[in-house]
């Protein structure tokens, strides 16, 4: 079932592996030139903007690198549907017409019914709603896509099965194959945009990248009606103070973006606020097609919604926070700290000044209903 990860005997994947070999400065520059050219031809000067909207930071998994891990003693909350709507309206005022709803894995707090209610609450007001939530069965995906969700994002985190087992120590997420088949189930469930990715820092970046390429190549064949995006998040500081032992330095990061673009010209590449502003600006022309801006990675982060329901968990068990633990203005704990804290309008302005058109809306739910 995972054999496609090792089947790399195609011209596209062979070329991809070759482009990931060490290069000198002149070669890197020519890769970048070609990558920029191909990106403009396929995607023009448009950069799509989106914002993550965290619904919940409750989670029953332990993932060594994630701030939301079950055993982390952090402040948690699951936003009520009305609170989600208010967070969304705040983002709409800032310009966003494309929201990514994010939640940890918790069957009780983040049930499929809850997610469906959130989607149904938002689609009348938001042209494009996507989800980044725990893996599901096809029927559950079908319910969410029928409710109006258009995109689904799921990162494999690491394609190295040994590393995967080491970093995912508790919870349903331990099942590598179940997660790997997630994009295909989402496709069968009717999602039109599917995002995949690896979390760089957990294993050697080249082997991670080649496996990601093999996964993408497989998906392009099996899910021909879906539009794919790839994210290349690099680990950021979070609760639990995890230190990644495999770096993906900036130079190699650039090479990876260019190699992806050259071999997968039709695939979108997403750049989040995990990366600092100067680097984001420098990466703009190279192959990026979609960006988040002004992001918060905790539920209620945009408006302070949900603070009344905050609770502390210790080893996964909710405990009423002692008054001195819960300070005034306390917020739910974020998943990771962002590195580009410019506002959406500042990012849009920057895009314009560099000759890019910030595209807020490029989908209309009227197509579907």
């Amino acid at each position: 079932m995972t054999s496609f990860l090792r089947d790399r005997n195609t011209p596209r994947l062979q070329r991809f592996a070759a482009l990931l070999e060490p290069v000198d400065d002149a070669q890197l520059e020519s890769l970048a030139t070609e990558s920029a050219r191909i990106t403009r031809r396929h995607f023009g000067n448009a950069i799509r903007l989106f914002a993550p909207l965290y619904l919940s930071n409750e989670c029953i998994n332990n993932c060594a690198y994630c701030g939301f891990s079950r055993d982390n003693p952090i402040l948690r909350v699951t936003l009520e549907v009305d609170a989600v709507r208010r967070e969304a309206r705040h983002l709409v005022k800032e310009g966003f017409r494309n929201l990514l709803l994010v939640a940890g894995e918790h069957p009780k707090f983040v049930s499929n019914g809850y997610l469906e209610s959130c989607v149904r609450a938002l689609v009348p007001e938001i042209p494009s709603v996507s989800l980044e939530v725990a893996p599901m069965e096809v029927e559950d995906y079908a319910r969410l896509s029928s409710a109006g969700a258009e995109g689904l994002v799921v990162y494999q985190e690491t394609y190295d099965e040994d590393a995967y087992a080491r970093f995912h120590t508790a919870g349903p997420k331990k099942d590598f194959a179940w997660r790997l088949a997630c994009p295909e189930r989402a496709y069968a469930g009717g999602f039109r945009r599917i995002g995949i990715g690896a979390l760089f820092g957990l294993a050697d970046w080249r082997s991670e990248a080649t496996a990601l390429g093999a996964h993408l190549n497989h998906l392009l064949r099996t899910c021909w009606r879906s539009q794919f995006t790839v994210s290349l998040p690099r680990l950021r500081p979070c609760a639990g103070s995890f230190a990644p032992d495999h770096a993906l330095p900036d130079r190699e990061f650039v090479q990876l973006i260019c190699a992806l673009r050259l071999c997968f010209p039709e695939v979108g590449i997403v750049l989040s606020t995990r990366e600092p502003a100067p680097l984001r600006d420098a990466l703009l022309p190279l192959g990026i097609t979609m960006m988040s801006a002004g992001s918060h990675t905790e539920p209620g982060g945009y408006t302070g919604e949900g603070t009344a329901q905050l609770h502390l968990t210790v080893r996964g068990k909710p405990v009423a926070p002692a008054p001195d633990t819960l300070q005034k203005n306390a917020r739910a704990t974020e998943q990771f700290s962002i590195a580009d804290d410019r506002s959406p309008s500042e990012v849009a302005q920057l895009l314009r000044s560099r000759g890019f058109d910030p595209v807020w809306k490029d989908w209309d739910r009227a197509i579907l209903a």
Partner: protein, 264 residues
């Protein structure tokens, strides 16, 4: 030049260059390029526009296209089947955008290649409902005739995949489509250089639609002018007559094949 006007559904246009509105670096740049190109027909993806009538400042592309200067041709890009395309066309008409529609159905979101089956189905429905339908199709002569028979106003075959800038790679098929057509043939995609546009016009295409090559040029307005001239030059040459010269081969004094005509 004052050649024959382009006639679509009884309406005359002096420009034979249609423009797309995606991929520009800003709406202002787009507006300048439209102006410079001399175009009179401009297509816009409905999914990028605000159809609610609330004048969304974050989705205001329609405000940069003056309806007095251009025929706004909404397109159904984003639709993956006939049902979705029909829904979008109806929505555009009820929002007062237009009853003209560029019918685009591409279930494959990567190469944006059109679905012939769904396109024919949608065209049939839309024509019956009184829409003026301009379908984007692969360069398939049989499909072109089938669409003409259901009453589309044009056919719009691709020269090569959208955004590829590879020119008229489907040339042999385009020639058949043009030769057989009783509606205007608008070559729609893959035109990456003014010379491609000129060639399409020389071949007898009624018009061409260009987007990427103008939108991503370092000077989109300048490139818009270049395409305008190429389309005019190609059209003029076509109207004058581009028949292939006869007897271009070296004359043979012995006439082995036709000498018998003179020996009798």
């Amino acid at each position: 030049m004052d050649g024959k006007p382009l006639l679509i559904a009884g309406r005359a246009f002096s420009s034979r260059l249609l423009l797309g509105t995606g991929k520009f670096s800003s709406p202002e740049t787009m507006a300048e390029a439209l102006q410079a190109s001399g175009t009179e027909i401009v297509t816009v993806a409905l999914r990028r526009a605000d159809l609610s009538g609330k004048r969304d400042p974050f989705a205001n592309i329609l405000e940069f296209i003056d309806p007095k200067k251009y025929l706004l041709l909404p397109n159904t890009s984003g639709a993956m089947n006939a049902e979705e395309a029909v829904r979008l066309a109806r929505l555009a008409r009820s929002a007062g955008v237009s009853d003209w529609v560029k019918l685009e159905i591409h279930p494959d979101p990567r190469h944006l290649l059109p679905d012939p089956i769904e396109t024919l189905k949608a065209a049939e429905i839309l024509v019956k409902e009184g829409f003026i339908v301009l379908p984007y199709i692969n360069a398939d002569p049989v499909l072109a005739k089938r669409l003409e028979e259901v009453g589309t106003a044009t056919v719009m075959p691709l020269g090569s995949p959208i955004g590829s800038n590879r020119g008229l790679e489907t040339r042999a098929q385009l020639e058949i489509i043009i030769e057989q057509a009783r509606v205007p043939v608008v070559v729609d995609a893959g035109i990456g250089a003014p010379s491609h546009a000129a060639l399409a016009m020389e071949m007898g295409a009624a018009a061409v639609l260009v987007n990427t090559a103008i939108a991503i040029a370092p000077d989109p307005a300048g490139m818009g002018r270049a395409f305008r001239m190429a389309v005019e030059a190609g059209r003029m040459a076509h109207e004058i007559g581009m028949g292939a010269p006869l007897a271009s081969a070296t004359a043979s004094p012995t006439s082995p094949l036709t000498g018998f005509l003179r020996s009798a």
